[in-house]
């Protein structure tokens, strides 16, 4: 269907540099998630693609054709808005017909497409209702139907699951993915929820302060975060960051701080190979990569259980290590014991899964 390219796209809102010269390509049929905290520029980027905001600089290409100068309606792009943007005075059927009127397709074709869309969204019984008479989930399906009925080249979604409750959100997420894959439509999806990004995306674009921090598959941004921002943003609870110094004992690199000294092995050792003695580093460990044992030993780091946060089948532990609080997360069964507040435990980091960042640049080492 379509390939989308953003080239050096730049956007200002008054004094705020909302989007700072970003370049990005979304392949044909791909679902690309723009992920980031509020104010990171993801929605501005989406609105520039749709044509509501004129970029200060740069160009957008759809199938190799520049579209920046085109009116939104001439771009062949459809969008689902966060609040769905349904017309209170139009029925569901009228919502589906509305986008087809400017395309000048025949009345029979309109009829047929409305029926197809009603089939696709399972909305036949609701065609004559007004938005006020629909549930939030149904309203959203109308918004999706209205967007897709024109068979656009590009499909934009702006935090479409925000107004749904938790249960409906998981269901709709799966539905969106099914639809997108069935239709093979190039999609740009904006969200601040990393769980959504992980579940839906072919490609995740992590944004912060108008910059793209990392582009990659959901696995890549999880396993190989490019910098501390991405590392901290992806994963729940967020990654633990521990400041350390790199020291060399002969050929053995060791990470030291006031609480522990951790000899690096294997791949980790290779990564610090070229770094000098005394280099300040940040060790990043995800909560799920901390192992806790009730018996502190030589190969563990002593810590104290500070807070217990039981989840359904998992246990989140706040561990106090010196003046640092680390979070660990693990299956209750696998833990093998019932931790209590104040209990002294030993912790171990899974070395194949820890991350090292430069303290100065915050980039991955």
């Amino acid at each position: 269907m379509a390939r989308l390219e953003l080239e050096q796209l730049d956007c200002w809102y008054g004094e705020t540099h909302a989007v700072d010269h970003i370049t990005l390509a979304v392949e044909d049929g791909e679902l690309c998630v723009l992920l980031g905290p509020s104010g990171c520029g993801k929605t501005s980027t989406l609105r520039m693609i749709a044509g509501f905001v004129r970029p200060a600089d740069g160009e957008i290409y759809l199938d190799g054709r520049p579209i920046c100068h085109l009116y939104p309606g001439d771009r062949n792009i459809a969008m689902v808005f966060q609040n769905y943007a349904l017309y209170p005075h139009k029925t569901v059927r009228q919502h589906f017909v509305f986008p087809l009127i400017p395309t000048r397709v025949s009345r029979r074709e309109i009829e047929q497409r409305v029926n197809e869309m009603a089939d696709f969204l399972e909305m036949h019984d609701l065609l004559d209702r007004y938005p006020g008479e629909l549930s939030a989930g149904q309203q959203q399906r109308v918004a999706i139907g209205r967007a897709l009925i024109r068979r656009p080249k590009l499909f934009l979604l702006d935090e479409p699951l925000n107004n749904l409750d938790e249960r409906l959100r998981a269901e709709t997420r799966a539905n969106l993915r099914r639809m997108q894959q069935e239709l093979q439509i190039t999609t740009v999806y904006v969200t601040h929820d990393q769980v959504e990004a992980q579940a839906l995306a072919d490609k995740v674009v992590v944004m912060d302060m108008g910059h793209i921090r990392q582009v990659g598959s959901p696995q890549e941004v999880y396993h190989y975060p490019a910098d501390m921002f991405v590392a901290g943003f992806i994963g729940m609870p967020p990654m633990n960051f521990i400041a350390c110094r790199l020291e060399w004992e002969g050929t053995q690199p060791i990470l030291r701080n006031s609480c522990f000294s951790l000899p690096l092995r294997g791949a980790m050792a290779e990564r610090v190979d070229s770094l000098p003695q005394g280099r300040e580093l940040i060790l990043g460990v995800r909560p799920e990569h901390i192992r806790v044992t009730p018996q502190p030993g030589d190969d563990t780091i002593p810590a104290e259980v500070y807070v217990l946060e039981p989840q359904s089948n998992e246990l989140v532990l706040d561990l106090k290590m010196g003046d640092l609080i680390l979070k660990s997360r693990g299956d209750k069964q696998e833990l093998g014991f019932r931790p209590e507040v104040g209990q002294r435990v030993g912790i171990r980091f899974l070395q194949r899964a820890v991350h090292l960042f430069d303290k100065e640049t915050e980039k991955r080492v």
């Binding site: 749709a50 044509g51 509501f52 009116y71 939104p72 309606g73 001439d74 771009r75 792009i77 459809a78 969008m79 808005f81 966060q82 609040n83 943007a85 349904l86 017309y87 209170p88 005075h89 509305f98 986008p99 400017p102 395309t103 006020g132 209205r146 024109r150």
Partner: protein
């Protein structure tokens, strides 16, 4: 307790309504009375109605004056709604340099005391040869009505979520189509409210009407005031004429009452 509160509330509402409606009732009753019954003490509430007052009203200049009033009020209202909604939409949706200043300037026109401009207007329209012509009053009323319309309608357009219009833009509708097919239908309560107020204002206006018209374009309020002075006061005729003159506004208000209630309560739309 809850019931008592409700009863008290309804009683209060009825009382207030009665206070406001009693003069109206008085006028309606008077219009069906003979001269003798009109002035009888104590006043009669039950009597055989006569239609003589209405016949007299129809046989005077009054029908022509009502026609003038309606031509002027409806024209001015339509013009004000059309120009007002376009202007208000512009202020609401587009970034305009000096927008705040312009808006205040438009509002300040509404604050203009009519008495201050009667003489200048008279001179201007005399110079233009428009004295005693409908167009003169239509223009003058537009001055007041447009500024009112812009302010009320801007509030209604501001309430319409921008996304509704953006969705239509993406669907291939041009900006004018977006205005007519999305914004305007959603602002209907505002349009109805504005129209009723403009209509009432234009029908009621006296001072400018009395100074800018003499005979051909004379409006009903001016005509009615002359009934009082010419041959004593024919209260019956005056009452009948007043009742007839109220009808257009009453009918229009009933026609748009649903929109009006939503408009007056500034119903949020979602």
């Amino acid at each position: 307790m809850k019931v008592l509160k409700r009863v008290l509330g309804v009683a209060l509402a009825l009382f207030v309504a009665a206070v406001f409606l009693f003069p109206l009732l008085w006028v309606v009753l008077s219009s069906f009375k003979t001269k003798l019954e009109l002035l009888s003490v104590p006043p009669k509430f039950i009597f055989t109605p006569t239609f003589q007052n209405y016949l007299n009203a129809f046989n005077s200049d009054f029908p022509m004056q009502v026609r003038n009033s309606l031509i002027i009020a409806v024209s001015s209202t339509v013009i004000s709604i059309v120009l007002g909604s376009l202007t208000a939409y512009g202020f609401s949706r587009y970034q305009i340099k000096g927008s705040d200043f312009l808006q205040f300037w438009i509002l300040s026109l509404r604050m203009l005391p009519a008495i201050a401009v009667v003489v200048p207007f008279y001179l201007v329209f005399r110079a233009l040869g428009l004295l005693d012509r409908h167009i003169a009053l239509i223009l003058v009323y537009c001055l007041f009505n447009i500024s009112f319309a812009v302010w009320v309608l801007k509030g209604f357009f501001d309430e319409i979520p921008l996304e509704l219009e953006e969705a239509a833009m993406l669907d291939g509708y041009t900006p004018p189509q977006v205005f007519f097919k999305v914004a305007l239908p959603l602002a209907r309560p505002g349009l109805a409210t504005t129209a009723v107020f403009c209509l009432i204002q234009s029908l009621n206006e006296f001072l400018l009407a009395v100074s800018l018209t003499t005979r051909v374009a004379e409006t009903a309020p001016v005509g009615l005031s002359k009934v009082q002075t010419l041959m004593g006061v024919d209260w019956g005729l005056l009452s009948a004429a007043s009742v007839l003159f109220m009808l257009p506004v009453v009918i229009f208000t009933i026609l748009v009452r649903n929109e009006l209630v939503r408009g007056m309560s500034f119903g949020r739309m979602k």
